[in-house]
């Protein structure tokens, strides 16, 4: 039966996440935007609550809720599982603050990678650690297959060498999932991911970036110099030769893209609610029945923004729902990420414009949200990468045909 409402059984989770967002994250949102690089200590206590939400195994909020469901479903007809719950929780939390959710202990994207591609033993070993994700390098971003960080087998260890940039929570996390190549000449087939624990000799944090937005979240530059990592920390299959390894690593994105889309949806909703409040105070209300062109231009603008928001929201739920039901969702995940990423940028910037000078000053969170929003159209695959993926899928093209 076609029904696009969030499941009733998720109501408690949504409410808990909303309460946390409004009572824990929102009040410290501006503080840590100003105090870039200082650790939001308030989150430690709160992270335990989030662990509780996630420990049920059915997902809560943040990257740790993501999972590759392999166990057969009890209700095979239609599952509303961990991915959908996680997306719903994340929307609420990012309504509170995107950067603070990204800074939340044990909610790193590395955790999502571990959940998606690790074997059972590794999942047990790293499941409780806070793991960041390190893919991008100074000379390679979207083109993940071109990474130059190397991993050389040396006895029962790999030696990692290279530099990684834009690592969210790279300093704070307990471990980092690092993408490296076993053989530069073998292209993407040789790319593997490794869990590198903090304190491993040869692993150092070079510096932290100063950013446009999500300032509460640390973004690190990491260096690996003859960093010895146990061979059993290689996630997935160590064999080169098939594309499966890289495809496996890329599979992480099928699970994390809906999550980033959810972040964008939550942030967009925050901005829409705030501008609606501001417009109402200014005497402008939105009427869903009257034609938009018969209403105040600001109300018409609101309707246009809300329509894009709604499409992004439902595309996000769709991609998570498909993951729950083990339907291949690469196309829908990229659609959701593309739509949510560009919509949140357009919406937050337009909200600043509609709110005028008030929205532009630090008295309002609107200006912060407009800065925070931009990263959501960039990380976990830029707008352009999502368009490439969608285009290749719908046109039936390979990556060598449609570059």
């Amino acid at each position: 039966m076609i029904n696009l409402e969030p499941p009733k059984k998720a109501a408690t989770l949504i409410n808990q996440a909303y309460q946390a967002a409004s009572q824990v994250l929102r009040p410290i949102s501006r503080k840590y935007d100003r105090a870039e690089h200082s650790y939001p200590t308030e989150l430690d206590m709160f992270a335990a609550v989030l662990d509780g939400l996630n420990s049920s195994g059915s997902g809560g909020a943040g990257a740790a809720g993501v999972r590759a469901d392999t166990e057969p479903g009890k209700n095979a007809a239609n599952r509303n599982g961990g991915n959908l719950r996680t997306v719903l929780g994340t929307i609420e939390m990012c309504w509170g603050d995107v950067a603070l959710l990204l800074s939340m202990p044990r909610q790193g994207l590395g955790n999502a990678a571990i959940a998606s591609v690790a074997n059972d033993e590794q999942r047990k070993r790293f499941g409780t650690r806070w793991a960041a994700m390190a893919i991008t390098e100074p000379d390679c971003g979207s083109d993940s297959a071109a990474i130059t960080t190397t991993a050389t087998l040396d006895g029962d260890h790999y030696l990692l060498n290279g530099e990684k940039i834009f690592v969210t929570s790279g300093e704070r996390a307990d471990a980092v999932v690092v993408w490296a190549t076993l053989d530069k000449d073998k292209g993407r087939a040789a790319i593997k991911s490794f869990v590198v624990e903090k304190g491993t000799p040869g692993f150092s944090v070079e510096r932290l970036e100063h950013k446009l937005g999500i300032r509460a979240s640390d973004t690190a530059v990491l260096r690996f110099e003859n960093c010895r990592v146990p061979a059993e920390n290689l996630l997935g299959n160590p064999e080169i030769g098939t594309k499966a390894g890289f495809a496996g690593a890329m599979k992480t994105f099928d699970n994390t893209r809906p999550l980033v889309a959810a972040m964008a949806v939550g942030l967009a909703r925050a901005a829409l609610e705030e501008i609606e409040r501001i417009l109402t105070e200014a005497g402008v209300t939105v009427d869903y029945d009257r034609p938009a062109d018969q209403q105040h231009a600001a109300a018409a603008a609101y309707l246009e923004m809300e329509a894009d928001y709604e499409a992004a929201y439902l595309l996000t739920l769709e991609s998570a729902w498909m993951a729950d039901n083990r339907k291949p969702n690469s196309l829908q995940a990229s659609m959701a990420k593309a739509k949510a990423g560009r919509s949140v940028v357009d919406i937050t910037l337009r909200c600043v414009e509609l709110a005028g000078a008030f929205g532009y000053t630090e008295e309002s969170l609107l200006e912060k949200w407009a800065r925070d929003a931009k990263i959501l159209d960039i990380f976990e695959g830029t707008q352009q990468i999502q368009q490439l993926i969608v285009a290749r899928r719908v046109l039936g093209k390979t990556s060598s045909e449609l570059k």
């Binding site: 076609i2 696009l4 409402e5 499941p7 009257r290 062109d293 439902l314 739509k339 490439l388």
Partner: protein, 434 residues
């Protein structure tokens, strides 16, 4: 009476059309009568008389609230959508170009659509129809599937069901027993929901058409625009501002085409030409007291506007998908500079955008439909679906022509017609009703 869709769902999908003989192409025998600019009295209609009257009006069962997020249609919905989709591909699409230039739908096509039972599915079994639950989602899937064939012909096919659906939803026992039997019989009358007026910034809640109270009932004056199959229609539901103690408020009235003072004239437009659109003039049209629908309730009127906008959103989803489905093989086959043009990001990204926005507007439309059928508030969702259908639907139509270049601009390809048709979304009110 032909096999209804409900019956069809019990048969094997693709074999159905062959079995019922609905697959053979239709011959376009009807001349272009509506092309000429003459004004005529309404179609000489049948006499609608009250038949077996129920003690109270029959309403379809309401569907309960869903517990889980679910994008999977029911088995019946899947089969209905598939069957109607085949009908659209095999009957509507091939007939669309000629219907567009002749400004009229092929009569045989309409007969077959009636035989397929497209009108029947929204009418409860007690009233001779084939529907049990009132599924707005099923209605949306049907509209979408038909519009994938052709938007103008989809309107021609769906126009009578807008009237029958309004009667099912809001008609009283007398109105239902007088008019609904005709819609479940072999010869389904042409009928139309006429709320649109040719006025800039038109607001359906403030029609210029006026209804005055008379001792016997009401007297209507006004002009309605873009009425599908206006010349053939035997029954109209017309909106007019009804005078009352505290000013005017919009209401719906049943008007038979043979009523004195009612005239129709052709009103060809940019698109939807296969729907034979016309202007409906009401000049001192006298109606009896039982012509008023839903007691003139503002809630009924608001619902009619919303469910009609929902219909347009569903139609836009279908036509936008048709554009996308047409463009994909074209850009893959068309070569420039030694390779398919789809190998260029400028082209490929445009296709990606079409796909993303089409999927987004479809989900928003389905959410609105699902909320409507579950009895949840849905005004917001309909407004958002309509906004996306108008903006993104038009953008998809425009991108379709653009990607075909000069070929998109000529009538050899259907995309120029879809471009014209999709401009109607967001402009037109009424006409369809889910």
């Amino acid at each position: 009476m032909g096999l209804g869709l409900a019956a069809l769902t019990r048969l094997a999908g693709s074999k159905t059309l062959e079995r019922t003989g609905l697959r053979a192409p239709v011959a376009h025998l009807v001349g272009a009568a509506t092309k000429n600019g003459f004004r005529a009295a309404g179609a000489a209609g049948r006499t609608f008389v009250s038949a077996r009257r129920l003690g109270k009006p029959a309403r379809p069962t309401k569907i309960g609230e869903g517990d889980l997020f679910d994008l999977t249609p029911t088995e019946e919905q899947r089969m209905v959508a598939e069957t109607v989709g085949e009908f659209a591909a095999e009957q509507l699409r091939p007939a669309a170009s000629e219907a567009d230039s002749r400004l009229t739908p092929p009569a045989e096509l309409l007969a077959r659509a009636a035989e397929l039972g497209i009108t029947l599915i929204g009418i409860p079994e007690e009233l001779g129809g084939a529907g049990t639950d009132r599924s707005v989602v099923t209605a949306a899937l049907i509209a979408e599937a038909l519009a994938h064939g052709d938007l103008g012909l989809a309107l021609a096919v769906l126009a009578p069901s807008a009237v029958s659906t309004a009667l099912v939803r809001w008609g009283d026992a007398e109105q239902q027993s007088t008019y609904l039997p005709a819609f479940t019989g072999e010869n389904v009358p042409a009928a139309a929901l006429a709320t649109q007026e040719a006025k800039p910034l038109f607001d359906p809640f403030r029609p210029a058409a006026r209804a005055r109270r008379t001792p016997g009932g009401y007297r209507l004056d006004g002009v309605k625009s873009m009425v599908p199959r206006a010349a053939q229609a035997e029954l109209f539901i017309v909106s007019a501002a009804l005078e009352g103690p505290d000013g005017h408020r919009p209401a719906l009235f049943l008007v038979e085409s043979s009523t004195p003072g009612l005239t129709v004239e052709p009103e060809p437009a940019m698109g939807l030409r296969g729907a034979a659109t016309g202007k409906l003039r009401l000049d001192q049209v006298s109606l009896s007291a039982d012509a008023l629908i839903g007691g003139g309730s503002p809630d009924v009127f608001a619902e009619a506007v919303r469910l009609s906008r929902l219909g347009w959103a569903a139609l836009a989803c279908g036509t936008a998908k048709a554009v996308l489905d047409y463009v994909i093989p074209y850009v893959n086959e068309r070569k420039a500079f030694g390779e398919p043009i789809s190998h260029r990001q400028a082209v490929a990204f445009s296709v990606a955008d079409m796909a993303i926005e089409q999927e987004g507007m479809r989900l928003v439309t389905l959410r609105a439909a699902a909320r409507a059928e579950q009895g949840r508030p849905y005004a917001r969702e309909v407004a958002l679906a309509r906004k996306l259908a108008a903006d993104k639907g038009m953008r998809i139509g425009s991108a379709g022509v653009q990607l075909l270049g000069g070929h998109g601009f000529v009538k050899e390809h259907p995309v120029e017609r879809w471009y014209r048709d999709l401009r109607a979304i967001g402009v037109l009110e009424g006409i369809v009703l889910l």
